[in-house]
Structure formats: C-alpha cells, structure tokens
C-alpha cells in the first residue's frame, strides 16, 4: 500500500453502531436470554485446593423436589487426548473435560465437581448442599518453586516433563521445558563490560472482565442444539463443546451475545458443555450464570511467574547478551503462555546473543487462560526493569539506550522470522519527544519507561455483505465485538465501497449464518476480519460494476467506481450504488459480497509507555500521577477506539503492577475472590492516560492495519515498577507494589 493514501472515512471517529443499545440497556449479554420452560444450573465447587474425591453420591440431590438433572464428569462420553482450538490459550480435550467437571481429583479451590439443574436457582442451590462427597485432602502446591522442588506433591501422576534431553522416568509438575537461542550467549557476556541481573516475581492476576460467564442452552430431542453465551469466539465454543459431547458441528448452533469484556478469559469454555449436558438430561433449556466468586476462583487468571534475567552491554551502550529463565504457572493443567513469554521477552532488542529457557509448571490454582498478550507482560517486566537499571549504570537516558538497541526492519527475532517494517523506533522517538518526557519530576516522584512487543495474529475470517434494494446493507461477520470492532468494520467496508458508513449495519453472525471465523483474540479482528470485510466490499463493488455494465451494454472494465457511483467511461452514464441495488431484480437478482480468508502478514505492534508515580513514603502508597501510552497502530481505523485500547491496556497493567493479586491462605484457599479485595483500579485512582498513536503501516493489510488490542498491557508492569524504584531508590523485584510491600521496601525490609 502507499503510505500517503488519502482516506475518506478511515481515521474518523464515528459513533459506534452498538452504542445506543449499550447505553440504553437494551443490549443483550450472556445472562439476558430466557426461554420457555427454562431451568437453572448451579455448580458444586471444591472447598479444597488439592484433594482426592473418595466418595461422591448425588442421589439425595437428584431426589430433591424440583431438581431435573445432575451432571458429573462421568457424563462426558470418553474424551481423547487431542489438542483443541481455544483462542490464544492451549488445553487438551482431556484436560478441558477435567476442568469443567473434575474427575477423581480436585485440583484447585473452586474446581467444579457436580452440576445440578432445577426449576429455580434457589432449588438448585439447596440441592447442592445434599450432595454427599468425601475428600481426602492433599497438600497443595501453590508456587512454581514449590512445584519444581524435589519431593513436591505431584498433581498429575501421569505427567512427565517434555522437552528434556533425556526422557524422564518420574512424574513431574513441570509439563514442558523449552528454549530459544541465537548467537553465542557466553561470548556475548564475555564481550560485555556492564552486566545486570535480577530475579522477579509477578502474581496471579485475573482479567477482571465485568460481565461474569453466562449461557443459556437448549438440547433438542432431534439433536439440534443451541448455545447462547458470552464469548470471544463462538466457533471455538462450538468446537470444544461438540467434541466434549460427541456432536456434529452442524448440529450445534452457537450465538455470541454482546460481551462485557473478555481480555482472553472468554476464549475457552466452562459452563457451556455442562449446561448442554444438563439440558440433554432434563429435556429443558438451561441457564447458568457464574457468581463473581466463581469467576475469580475457577476462570481466567493469567500466570504467576518467577523469572531470572541477565543482560550484558558494552560501555558504548551496545547490548551484547540477553539471557533469561522463565517459570510460569499453568494452573491445574498444563498450558501456560511461557512459550510466548520466551518469544517476546527480548524481541524489542536487536542483540546478537540471546538465550532463554521456559518452564510450564502446574500448581493448585485455576487453569490459566489467555490474558491480553498472554505471557508477554510478565516476561517484559523482568527485561524492562533491567534495561532501565542498565541505563543508569551506563549513565544513559533510558529511551536513548533503547533507541540504540531497538529492533527494526531486518532484525532477526529469537523465534524465527526477520522483522519486516516495524515501528519501535518511531514509538521511542514519540515518547522521547512527548511533553510528558520533558516534564521535570517533583519530590517523591519517579519515572519509568518500558517497551513491549506483541506479534498479533491473522487467521481465518469470513464475511458477507448483503445489499438491500434501497442501497443499505448488512455486514455479517463472525468475530465477537469486544472493543468497538463493528465500527471499524463498518468504516472499512464504507471506504472500500465509497458510501457513508451509516448505510451499512455490521452484525456478528452465529455459527450457522456466517462461515468459520477464528475468535476475537491475538489482536486479529480489525486486521484479519477487516481484510475479509474489505474483500467482501470489493466483491460487492465488482458486482455493482458488472450490473452497471450490463445495463449500459458495455464491459465491466469500461465501468469505473468512484465514491459509490458507477461511471461509464465509454459515455456519460452514471448509476449510484442505491440505483444499482434498486434495479438488481432486473440485472440478475440481489447482490451480496463475500470475503473468506486465512489472513497472513499480521504486523507486530510495539508499545512504549511512560509512567510517573508519587510515593507516600510514610504509607507506601503509590499514586500514578502521569501516564503516556505510545503504540504503533499501523493505521488507526477508528482513532478513538485505538486510544481506548491503549488506555485500557495501560490501566490493566497498572492494576497488575500496583494492587492486583490472588491471595491464598496456607491451605491453598483463595481469600480474595471478589472485587473488594482483588483491587483493579477504579477511575479515581488514575490520571488521564495520554495516548499517542504512531502509524507505521503494515504493508500486508490494504489500509495498513496492525492489531492494537494487546501490546498496551505489556509495558506498564515495568513502567510502574521502575517508576517506583526510581522514586524510592530501592530495587523492585516483586509485584504487586501494594502499600505494605512498598513500605517494607522503603524500610529496607523488602
């Protein structure tokens, strides 16, 4: 694409098509569908972090008046050990089945054991108390250090570490060991004149979406089933649920409701297969809604991690070696995003010698799910803290040092490809030149700079655009809209067709009325589904030209399309899109365009954040006083929503850095399963987050788009962490930087 391209609609901030429904309360979310004859499902959850189920007897509950179905793990037809599609996370079918309803053993506080459907939720709740269950409580394993220690209690006796040189003979809590390398790490450190190294810890953090998981399902006697749920990928819900229940894809329709946040946490299933079993057993539609407590205990979180990183540089600032060792908690089943941590950690830097190893470790916590740039924030926290320390040791400005070592076009990545054009340098320059960076700090204040890298993905997307006889149309896409993507789809189609965005209504089709589309994750929707939308819109335009040509008796090549109007280059005729649509019945029937793609060429998005904090040294309380998020969007289709993504990512990262953490007792029980003691930032906690959009176009997208949804959560951990370090003059290693921890650091009791 040419960089100087002029756009008619793209780059404006139009009103979102879903806005009216949302602000008037009319939009329907996961819990909002009710069906005739519907009953309510509830789940009995484990009161222990780690225990064998010695005895399970549901007969008293089944006999309770009003109870219509009871489900346990034994209701899954024998599932096999195969990988399944689940967005950015990874889980085998066996593990998924054992996660949604425990088999023989409970592996975390809140692990689902039995589901009951009854006429009312109160009856279901009462019946849960009638389930007779005996546990043999086992010692829980709550941290990678414990889990990796010799003699640790083993969660899965059949799990042997993969990726070791020699095949192990004893079971381990380490599911996988992996490594990435480039150059000669030892030579790199030999070449170094300054070396920094440190160990870091990041806590378990939840995505914190406001809408709890919810679904309404109906299993019909003829085998035709329906699921209505809040999800980031309804095709993935269909795939997992169909496999768990042994259904053909064609018999299971999944409808994505409006979604009140997901951040990766709604790329897998928890309730849906269980509800469908209850529906199959009871012959009734079943609704299930999680309480907030269940959401915290049994869904989401992002991995807690322990990492060690070492960086060497020459006195002139050239980084010669970067080494790391990352251990990520997977939760109860294997599949943490440690691989992504390893792939992203050093990637903002063009350094010849790199070595990183990763460990995927199971612990007695909820199975982790994707969380916005899964795996990257934790790894980059360690790396960026140290790059800031390195800048101090070298007497260099931290942005300047990063510019000297920044990855750019042609830089070899540790995970394989060489970068095409990327915008890290431009982001660093924009941060350096910002007003924020020029502003002096006041007493008790500190500043942190951090960069972040995320790949972004493409993948399959399907779109069709149905034109109406009056020249309006419907864009049917298959990517649930979490961050305002319908507005962007509308704008991209309008741009390609040359008509006002408002004439096209974007909707999310269900799994039957649009072809397979990968879920909304990996920052892929505006890029990949956007490309499918453009393709469908261009298909519409091509057909418009043909119809006009047939009316004028010329060839389609003789028709030009300008601003939504067909022009006859062989004469004076013109026909608007609306006129062609109105006459479609006479030129071959109604017009619809199609775009079914497997998008390649996703463009990485780099981000650079600046954070100023003020620390109350008497209490350890940290206030973020100024914050700027700079990020490369490639091309901002809808700048306001791009800013929203930057700000949202920054806020989640600030929360993770300052107060968010799962707090467990010695017994492995979660003590803060609610928003009161799991402290995400509230609006009054934060200053306005300044967003700076950098646009270095991605040449593989017709309009230059790079995904923007995830990179923004990567830099804040170190931007905040280092700002605190800078303000108190004491090294920071562990998050969150809650008041007691910061106070202890100041007191020298860190």
């Amino acid at each position: 694409m040419s960089e100087a391209r002029e756009f008619k609609y793209i780059g404006q901030s139009t009103i979102r098509p879903d806005g009216f429904d949302k602000v008037t309360g009319r939009a329907n979310y996961g819990a909002d569908l009710s069906l005739p004859g519907m009953i309510w499902g509830k789940i009995l959850r484990s009161p222990h972090a780690h225990a064998m189920i010695k005895r399970l007897d549901t007969s008293r509950a089944e006999a309770f008046p009003g109870v219509l179905a009871v489900a346990t793990h034994s209701d899954f037809p024998s599932v096999t050990d195969q990988a399944i599609e689940s967005g950015e996370g990874s889980l085998t079918l066996l593990d998924l089945a054992r996660n949604v309803l425990a088999k023989d053993k409970v592996l975390y506080h809140g692990h689902a054991v039995v589901a009951i459907a009854a006429k009312t939720s109160a009856i279901a709740e009462q019946a849960l108390a009638l389930i007779d269950i005996e546990y043999e409580v086992l010692k829980p394993v709550m941290d990678v250090r414990e889990a990796m220690a010799a003699g640790a209690p083993i969660l899965h006796p059949d799990m042997f570490t993969q990726g070791l040189a020699e095949k192990p003979t004893t079971a381990s809590n380490v599911a996988t060991r992996l490594e990435y390398k480039m150059g000669d790490i030892e030579a790199g450190f030999k070449d170094a004149e300054v070396v920094v190294e440190r160990e870091f810890y990041t806590p378990t953090a939840h995505q914190g979406y406001i809408e709890p998981h919810a679904c309404t399902v109906r299993y019909e006697k003829d085998g035709q089933s329906m699921i209505w749920c809040s999800t980031q990928g309804h095709f993935d819900v269909r795939a997992s649920t169909a496999k768990l229940l042994g259904l053909d894809l064609g018999k299971l329709k999944v409808i994505a409701s409006e979604i009140g946040g997901g951040f990766g946490g709604k790329t897998t299933v928890y309730l849906e297969p269980v509800a469908l079993i209850l529906s199959r057993k009871s012959g009734r539609p079943v609704k299930m809604i999680m309480d907030r407590d269940e959401v915290f205990k049994a869904t989401g979180p992002g991995s807690a991690t322990r990492s060690w990183v070492k960086i060497g540089a020459r006195k002139d600032g050239t980084i010669t070696a970067m080494q790391g060792r990352l251990a990520y908690e997977a939760g109860a089943f294997k599949g943490s995003p440690v691989m992504m941590g390893c792939m992203t950690a050093f990637t903002p830097y063009a350094v010849s010698n790199m070595y990183i190893e990763g460990f995927d470790v199971v612990v007695n916590k909820a199975k982790v799910a994707a969380y916005r740039a899964p795996g990257a924030p934790q790894a980059e926290f360690a790396v960026e803290m140290l790059v800031n320390e390195l800048a101090v040791k070298l007497g260099r400005d931290p942005i300047d040092l990063r510019l000297q070592n920044a990855a750019k076009e042609g830089t070899q990545t540790i995970y394989g490809p060489k970068f095409k054009r990327v915008g890290l340098v431009e982001c660093l320059e924009a941060a350096r030149d910002s007003k924020h960076y020029q502003q002096a700090l006041a007493a008790n204040q500190g500043r942190g700079v951090a960069a972040g890298f995320w790949f972004n993905v493409g993948g399959q997307s399907s779109v069709h655009i149905n034109m109406n006889p009056d020249g309006t149309g419907t864009i049917v896409e298959g990517s649930p809209d979490i961050g305002g993507s319908r507005a962007s789809m509308q704008m991209m189609a309008a741009e390609a067709m040359g008509i006002e965005p408002g004439r096209l209504k974007p909707i999310i089709g269900d799994t039957e009325n649009v072809a397979f589309s990968a879920g909304t994750g990996g920052s892929r929707t505006t890029f990949a589904t956007g490309m499918a939308v453009i393709e469908a819109a261009e298909d519409v335009v091509a057909q418009m030209k043909q119809r006009a040509a047939s009316m004028w008796n010329v060839t389609a090549e003789q028709v030009e399309w300008v601003d939504g109007v067909a022009l006859n280059t062989a004469g004076e005729d013109r026909l608007s899109l609306a006129e062609i649509c109105a006459g479609a019945d006479r030129t071959g029937g109604q017009i619809s365009g199609r775009g079914n793609i497997n998008a390649r060429g996703a463009g990485p998005s780099f981000a650079v954040h600046l954070c100023d904090v003020e620390v109350d040294k008497e209490t350890g309380k940290v206030d973020v006083v100024r914050y700027t998020a700079v990020q490369d969007a490639g091309k901002a289709i809808h700048p306001k929503y791009v800013e929203g993504q930057y700000q949202g990512g920054a806020v989640q990262g600030i929360g993770w850095a300052l107060n968010e953490e799962y707090i467990y007792g010695a017994d492995g029980l979660l003590e803060n399963a609610g928003f009161l003691d799991y402290r995400i930032p509230v609006a009054s906690d934060l200053p306005m987050i300044d967003a700076i959009i950098v646009e270095v176009p991605n040449k593989f997208h017709p309009y230059g788009v790079r995904g923007v949804g995830e990179s923004g959560i990567i830099p804040p951990l170190a931007a905040v962490g280092y700002a605190v370090e800078n303000a108190i003059g004491v090294p920071v290693t562990d998050l969150p930087l809650s008041p007691p921890r910061v106070f202890n650091l100041i007191q020298g009791k860190g």
């Binding site: 109160a122 709740e125 009462q126 008497e618 209490t619 309380k621 300052l658 107060n659 707090i663 003590e671 803060n672 928003f675 009161l676 003691d677 402290r679 930032p681 509230v682 009054s684 906690d685 809650s738 008041p739 007691p740 106070f743």
Partner: protein, 290 residues
C-alpha cells in the same frame, strides 16, 4: 435470603411493635447496603424486614444550639450535602463521604454504618471523636449510650432484640473545636479501611489544646477511644513532638490482626500516621474556627 415478610412502618412506635411481634428472624433495614449483601450469603434462612426509611423522623436532622440530632437512616448523599453540619462537624461529614461510591451513598446511612458495627466502619471513629451518643428505643423505653460503649464487638452492639437506634446526638462544638477523619485504603475509593482515625481538638485563643479525643478504627475488634493519645495532645500547641507522641500512643493502643488487607505491623504503623495527619487537619480547622 428469602424475605418472607417486608414491612414499611410509618412511625417509630409501629416499628418497635413490629420488632417484637414475630418468630421469624427480624432485621431492621436502613439503606440495606450491608443488610442485603449479608443476607445473600446466608442462603435460605427466612427473613422479616422492617424498613425504617418511611419514618420521617428517621430520615431528618436538626441542628441548633444544643447540637446535632440526626435521624440515623438519612442517606450519606443527603447528609454530606448539609453545609451547616459540615461547617461544625467536617470530620463526620468526610467519614460519611468515604463510604462506598456515589451510588452506595444514595442509600447507605450513618445509623446503618453504626449498627452494622464493623471494626472498619468509617463513621464510627468519627462519631466517637466528637463524643456522639446513641438514643436507643425499644418496648421497654428509651436509653442513651455513648458511641464508644455502643459497639461491643465485631458486628455486635449493645442493642437488645426489639430495640432500634432512633437518634444520633452530638453536642455543638465550641469555637476552637473541630474534627477530622482519615482512613487508609490501597485505592482511592470503593474499599475498606486498613486503618482509620477520627480526631477532635479544642484550642484556646493561645492555640493551646484544651481538649481532644482520638479514636481509631480497623485496628481492633471495635473502634477505640485512645485516652493516652488525647493526653499527649492536651496542654500542648499540637507541635510536631506532641503529635508524634499521640501517634505513638495510638499505634500502641491498636491491637490489629494480619489479614489479606494488611499485617499487624503495617496497620499499627499506618494508624499512627493517620492520627498524626488527622490531628494536623483538625488543628488547622480549629484555628480557622476561632
């Protein structure tokens, strides 16, 4: 919860009668911001509710030479907008203003905060600091109890079943006498105090402190009136050294627990910091009132 019987009496007499007339567990309700949440967690026990919000006197206030007489069910949003009250009792108003959020304050009341008797309740130390009293009424008649004696334990107070809180009474502060309240939370709102401190001081025309009350919250089973901290202030100019002494006395008097919101050491330390800072705010206000 299963509310099986909801009542909205129009008078205190009617309310008192309802309180003693049933076998089912009966609860008085003001704003319900504690009650409703608590009864949700007590799964299915039947509950009878006596809603006091329809009794005019429970929702009103008066302020005259005798001081403040507050209907305990007035919601915080209304209370914190009373400028005449704020002028005289700025600390109590700021405590009420800290409860929850704008939405919560539309319902939550000071009486509810007091009767819920949580160790972390924000208005309790503020009420103790200004010497507030509770007028309690029941079938057996009326009695008046100081706030520091009203709360007896975690979630417990001296009211007998069949009694309710009818009025909160506070003497009018003299010129030179003002209060302040501070709490510590990790965020800026929507949180529960890790520690809290309510202070009132009286200054004479020379700036000497002639009377003081220091109350601390969230650092013991109940809010505490700390006489030793007040003693450290009385007779001084509220200079740094005496304020530091008061802070140390408050830290020493605290007997906090370690839980997910803070450790013993951290809470002890923080409550001292709050006492120091709140004292300085109260001092400034007292000077301005002279």
């Amino acid at each position: 919860m299963a509310v099986v019987d909801y009542n909205a009496p129009q008078s205190v007499q009617e309310a008192v009668a309802l309180l003693s007339g049933s076998d089912i567990k009966t609860k008085v309700m003001a704003g319900g911001t504690d009650l409703i949440i608590q009864s949700k967690s007590q799964a299915v026990e039947p509950l009878r509710v006596v809603d006091l919000k329809h009794i005019a006197e429970m929702m009103s206030y008066s302020l005259d030479d005798g001081g403040l007489s507050l209907g305990p069910c007035m919601c915080c949003a209304e209370f914190t907008a009373l400028h005449d009250v704020e002028t005289l009792y700025p600390g109590l108003v700021e405590a009420a203003y800290l409860i929850g959020s704008t939405q919560v304050q539309g319902r939550a009341s000071i009486g509810g905060n007091l009767c819920n008797s949580s160790p972390a309740a924000d208005t309790i130390p503020a009420l103790i600091a200004i010497g507030a009293k509770c007028r309690i009424v029941g079938a057996g008649g009326e009695r008046t109890v100081a706030v520091e004696d009203f709360v007896t334990g975690v979630g417990r107070n001296c009211m007998q079943s069949g009694e309710l809180l009818q009025r909160i009474l506070v003497a009018r502060p003299a010129p030179g006498s003002r209060d302040a309240y501070l709490r510590f939370i990790p965020r800026t709102e929507m949180d529960i105090a890790v520690a809290g401190a309510g202070i009132s001081v009286t200054l004479d025309s020379q700036g000497v402190c002639t009377a003081a009350r220091v109350a601390i919250g969230a650092v013991a089973q109940t809010a505490l009136l700390v006489a030793s901290a007040a003693d450290a202030l009385i007779g001084t100019q509220l200079d740094d050294a005496s304020v530091a002494k008061a802070a140390a006395a408050a830290s020493a008097a605290a007997s906090p627990i370690t839980d997910r919101r803070g450790t013993i050491e951290f809470r002890r330390h923080i409550v001292g910091v709050l006492v120091k800072r709140a004292t300085l705010i109260a001092k400034e206000r007292a000077q301005a009132s002279l």
